[in-house]
Amino acid sequence: MSETSSNNGARPVGSGAKLVYVSSVVLLCAWVIVPIYFLLINTLSSPETVNSFPKSFFPEFDFGSLHFFAEFSGMITALKNSITVALLTMTMSILIGAPAGYALSRFDFVGKNLFRLLILLTRAFPLPLLALPLAVMFIQTGLDDTTFGLSLVHTTLAIPFSVLITFSLFSGIPLELEEAAWTLGCTRLSAFRKVVLPLILPGITASAIFAFVISWNEVFAAAVLTIENRTLTAFLLQNLGTSPLHLKFAGGFILVMPALIFIFAVRKYLFAMWGIANR
């Protein structure tokens, strides 16, 4: 791109390419930002404004809808549960997924290909199908209605992603790098810690975000497997569908915000993966 535009003879082509580049950047940003912005405007608008058309581009700072949720009993507990479950899911899926990904990429063992296929199978069955036997088992073992039990289910959902993401990351790092570290006095473990780990950290972050978001967004298992310890999504999402429009917007905003904040907080690890320097 920069080469084209610095080329003397190709000025018109360069500016044309630049136009395409800039407009696709703008389009992609708008794709993400405009819906969130409208969510924000409508959250901060009175019910009359939400139902009226055309929509205003500026919020009127009416906090009625948000105030309703502030007084909605159980919100804070549900938010806390959601964060606990998502963090547990994230930790467990990385602790289990990353070693599996390393093993898949570094070692040859019998049934390796079958294993890679099987790991995807956990996503092949819809949750409404699995939820009933799971709930029966959870009630019998006492795992029922616990954040830990729910995060076990969410971990199962997140593991295929964390295994496959880390597998491709480890495969992208030449074994020679590790071998060089071994010859320079590193053990297998310290070579992993000092050489491989820094290189794959962005990938780990990516799979962590995946795990977090999968857990955050999951409704069905959460609604069936927890009662007192509901996650925010299970607590709110089912009830929002039938709620009036202004509360739908406010509820949607409340559901989206924590996940956005989390992704924002870990974004520098993610950017590093795409070759952009840490900021």
Binding site: F68, I139, G142, T146, G149, A223, S243, P244, L245
Partner: protein
């Protein structure tokens, strides 16, 4: 100690510490009704707060509701104390899984409802809790286009179509709104309104010539129906946004429009056809699952739900009307007043032709609805030949009736054995 048993012990220990915080002693009210956040909040604060034992009210979607219930039933122990759901939800369940409530000493004022609540057994499997119906509503701006000879409280289908056509012509937009969206209750319109009004039946007359006429009439109405109706599920939203001026829907799915802008909208009875003004009730009930942790508390809560004060509080909260005889206060919300008057006008009209909820279909209730939804999609959306579609769907309907052996319900004439599709 094997690794496995160690793991089980560890997991149970963690689980135990986590559950220790769970609320003790409260009755868990597991409901598919009063789901919208505002209604759920009002149920907790205004309806259930008066119950001495404490209630944990949890409204759910149908899927998680039944999955959790089935899980507790198969595990043989559970935390759900009281169930709240529609008649159709209970009809799909095995009565064995519900505690018999005949000896509780409470029941609705309607024998029809009490009979439905027995689910084909000799005892009450659930107690009727609240009722609603489907009505019409319109934006007052549409009233100027009402045909000159039409009385809004005694409309016919032809007048309704003429009215919708007038609005269409005057505004350039099709402004009749019909809840044909994925979550819309369109099948109830066909089962309880269109068919009874044109054929004086639902099952027997499914593929009759009168039914062809009914669908032709509905197709004429569809020409003046907002084409986005296939996305509409709660007509209060389109009333408020102005996308639809004349609509049909469940009373509680119209309530917000009346409560937010009471002066802008009017509620009125469903239209009448050649065989009267067909309409249908909605019935919700409360029941106790066999696995309820504290059956005495649960029974006390069921009795509490049927008390007149609770019933009035429930009406204010959910827009579902009482099932017991109560003196209604004067200060009810606008939505309740509007819906109450429309239902009274509908059931009190000279040509009223009340239908009943489908009964005896068990878990085939969804398939039964599917027959009507499929017919709608093929005839109205797909433009297929009405006679051919009805003859085709008729075999599916007949199979459902024969499999379940469900006898006819009003307005179909009574049958010996399974209701025949004639």
């Amino acid at each position: 100690m094997t690794v496995k048993s160690k793991l089980v012990t560890a997991v149970s220990a963690i689980a135990f510490t986590c559950t220790a915080y769970a609320a003790q002693g409260e009755v868990l009210f597991w409901s598919t009704q009063a789901k919208p956040v505002e209604e759920a909040q009002a149920m907790r604060e205004q309806v259930l707060a008066g119950f001495s034992g404490g209630v944990d009210y949890q409204p759910n979607d149908g899927g998680p509701w039944i999955t959790r219930l089935n899980a507790e039933l198969s595990a043989g122990s559970g935390s759900i104390g009281v169930l709240g759901a529609l008649h159709g939800d209970y009809a799909a369940m095995d009565p064995e899984n519900l505690v018999d409530l005949s000896d509780l000493g409470v029941a609705s004022a309607s024998d029809t409802f009490n009979n439905l609540a027995m689910l084909g057994t000799d005892t009450m499997q659930y107690i009727p809790w609240m009722q609603a119906s489907y009505i019409m509503a319109a934006n007052r701006e549409a009233l100027q286009y009402l045909p000159a000879d039409a009385d809004i409280n005694a409309l016919t289908y032809d007048q309704l179509i003429e009215w919708a056509a007038n609005v269409h012509e005057a505004t350039g937009e099709a402004k009749f709104g019909f809840p044909a969206g994925p979550d819309g209750l369109k099948h109830r319109f066909f089962q309880g309104y269109l068919y009874p009004s044109f054929t004086d039946g639902v099952v027997r007359t499914f593929a009759s010539d009168a039914a062809v006429n009914a669908w032709e009439t509905f197709a004429r109405l569809w020409e003046h129906t907002n084409p986005a109706s296939t996305n509409f599920s709660f007509m209060q939203e389109q009333l408020l946004s102005g996308d639809a001026w004349i609509v049909f829907d469940h009373t509680s799915r119209l309530a917000n429009a009346f409560n937010e802008r009471p002066d802008d909208f009017i509620a009125f009875p469903a239209p009448a056809g050649p065989t009267g003004r067909g309409f249908m009730p909605v019935l919700a009930g409360v029941a106790i699952p066999a696995t309820a942790p504290n059956i005495d508390e649960a029974r006390a809560l069921v009795s509490y739900m049927l008390e007149p004060e609770t019933q009035i509080a429930t009406l204010r909260t959910t827009n579902f009307f009482p099932v017991v005889d109560v003196e209604l206060p004067d200060d009810l919300p606008p939505s309740v007043q509007a819906a109450g008057n429309a239902i009274a006008a509908m059931s009190g009209s000279a040509d009223a032709n009340p239908g009943l909820l489908p009964a005896g279909l068990g878990d085939r209730g969804g398939d039964f609805n599917r027959v009507f939804v499929d017919s709608f999609e093929r005839i109205i959306l797909g433009g297929q030949d009405i006679r051919a579609v009805l003859d085709d769907q008729k075999t599916t309907l007949a199979a459902i009736m024969n499999d379940t052996g469900a006898p006819c319900w009003a307005p179909d004439a009574p049958s010996d054995g399974a209701c025949p599709v004639e």
